[in-house]
Point group: C2
Chain length 364, copies 2
């Protein structure tokens, strides 16, 4: 028994394939670096629905609450499109986020030099890009009540509620300011304070937290629509961006796409510290379940591998080992090893998921 | 007296400068093409606040209801940042949209060949781009109740409500399908049906309207975050995009930025037909009030001029004259006439707002 526990939830589509490579890397750390993990595995999303009729059982939820970190592959797929809203694969993921209270979703958008030409943006716009989006993950319109589809007069009405409390805003703002201090020390907060009162409160609270506790960090505010524009025009102007759940969903996906290689991008979702000092945490790649290529051994495991690197850094205080793993991935890219998503030459023969995993382990 | 009435609301920042050039073009149509307009002018936004303490007086609202089309310049500026939410310049614009019931906001994102290199995206990704975003403009989280900042326990809570009725969704869907029939016949609808019930209703109603009335149009659905990605990756995959007020705000600004020349993009906001058969209508450039360059004669009037071209097409059934005006603008660009925003060479001497207006009139 080590004192590092992990719950692995491979999920749907390419989730199991990419997670298999992460498992080998976890084993490598136990064997070679004397960094052992207790790993247990369970179901989430469509896989859980198929087995239990729910995208997350109470038992799995309970296990997630009692480990140091959860590693998740991906959820969803066309097979589950017709399911009722309440049992869709996504609800499993949303329940984990909500019940573990993982309020700070860290989404680095980093452009790997070897891959800059994959971006639809010009090389000079994205080469060297390194921004961190901090998205609020447990509140806002994703969880606000009332919600639902109601009958009113003779027609249906769809309702969701955007709702933010002062403390919800303050805690994610703090997470962003803390990260900025270890980076370029700049935070840009995004909302629609010109249209939404929840945006007015968001802006005010972020400013108050700044003035009271983080006066050394440079803070700016931007409307989210202008933010989408500026991310497209000149993303390198940003260091840390902090925004709400829904804006964060769109803006972090946009930022991810700027880098041109979705198969490379990890994320961390962090909550409050547990008794052992480690934060509640879930790590997952930004890419989805990619049902079109699932089961073919084609998927790029790097995003999932780099998510484990984030776990080393944020859950286990192993920053140097995280750096090592990230460098190994960069080295492999520099060597020209490429899964199919990273190749734009017709007829070139891509590395398989397994071969990519092999190359990373070799580089380690 | 003609039977074509226009209310001109130049607004704030560069609004008055760019609108001055539109006025000269309107005069040209009266003189040279026997197409006369009754033009009246009034205040909106910060300009109205300065004069009357409100961003839109009841009298101006009344006038707007009684003309064929409103032409608006831009609203807002740092001078008004500290104003209370209820009297911010933007509220004037939002009141016009709401009380005129302008539910369909048409935002073409078109890349002018002569300007393709201005985009931060690669030329091949954007050259020839021509998509039409249809954004719902009078409902959703912009207008839903309850809304506000409340005290709860010991803290403030910010609340807004996303709310869509079936008929609100159906009418904007119809507008999108109608437009698609005159274009490439494809509509992509965007929402977050995987997370929001209002998105589930949106998707269902768009599909129902399609199946009942527009089976000839090709319809697809996409989550809005994936939409942001796909717009960035390969925007030419889209023809018409239909989406709600808030997603439309971000996605249309993102699409606009892809073209690389915000100073070129017009918009039309249309409502139901009036007694004379013309739709309630407001036309405005996509760019904002650009306070940093206001009053210097530097602003690009093309977006505002092209907004008037949309008025010719959608309010006055003068499609050929609209084409003529659009061609004139393209010709001027092809000749190399450039306002400062369209020049990336240091030291090159840009055309002024007036010179750009002159060139368009000459090309007409
Ligand atoms: C799968 C879905 C529920 C999720 C979200 O909307 O948050 C995804 O898009 C994400 O960004 O993690
Ligand atoms: C000025 C503002 C209220 C407006 C909006 O949010 O709708 C603007 O961004 C737009 O897109 O027209």
């Amino acid at each position: 028994m080590s004192d590092r526990s992990l719950l692995v939830l491979p999920g749907d589509g390419i989730g199991p394939e990419v997670m298999a490579e992460v498992m080998r890397i976890i084993d490598w750390y136990g064997d070679k670096r004397d960094l052992a993990f207790d790993v247990s595995e369970d179901l989430v999303g469509g896989a859980a629905y198929d087995a239990h009729g729910t995208p997350l059982t109470d038992a799995t939820m309970e296990r997630a609450q009692n480990v140091d970190a959860v590693l998740l592959g991906a959820v969803g797929g066309p097979k589950y499109d017709a399911l009722d809203f309440s049992v869709k694969p996504e609800r499993g993921l949303l329940r984990l986020r909500k019940e573990m209270d993982l309020f700070a979703n860290l989404r680095p958008a980093q452009c790997f030099d070897a891959l800059a030409d994959f971006s639809s943006l010009k090389r000079e716009v994205v080469a060297g890009l390194d921004i961190m989006i901090v998205r609020e993950l447990t509140s806002g319109v994703y969880f606000g009540e009332p919600r639902g589809i109601f009958e009113e007069g003779n027609e249906r009405v769809g309702v969701n509620t955007q709702r933010y409390t002062e403390s919800e805003i303050a805690r994610v703002a703090r997470a962003a300011f803390e990260l900025a201090r270890r980076r370029a020390n700049r935070v840009c907060s995004m909302e629609k304070a010109n249209v939404m009162e929840s945006g007015v409160l968001w802006r005010d609270v972020v400013q108050e937290v700044h003035d009271a506790e983080y006066g050394d960090v440079q803070l700016s505010h931007m409307y989210a629509d202008a933010g989408a524009m500026q991310l497209t025009r000149w993303p390198k102007q940003f260091d840390v961006i902090v925004t709400d759940n829904l804006f964060g969903d769109l803006l972090s996906d946009l930022a991810a796409m700027l880098t041109g290689s979705l198969g490379m991008l990890p994320s961390a979702s962090l909550g409050a510290p547990m008794a052992n000092g480690r934060p509640k945490a879930l790590y997952e790649p930004v890419h989805g379940s990619a049902p079109d290529i699932a089961g073919q051994g084609k998927a790029n495991p790097c995003a999932c591998i780099l998510s484990f690197a984030m776990a080393l850094r944020y859950s286990f205080d192993e920053g140097e080992e995280a750096d090592r793993l990230e460098r190994a991935v960069e080295q492999v890219l520099a060597q020209g090893v490429r899964t199919a998503d990273l190749l734009n030459v017709e007829g070139a023969s891509p590395a398989t998921t397994r071969e990519m995993g092999d190359a990373v382990i070799k580089a380690l």
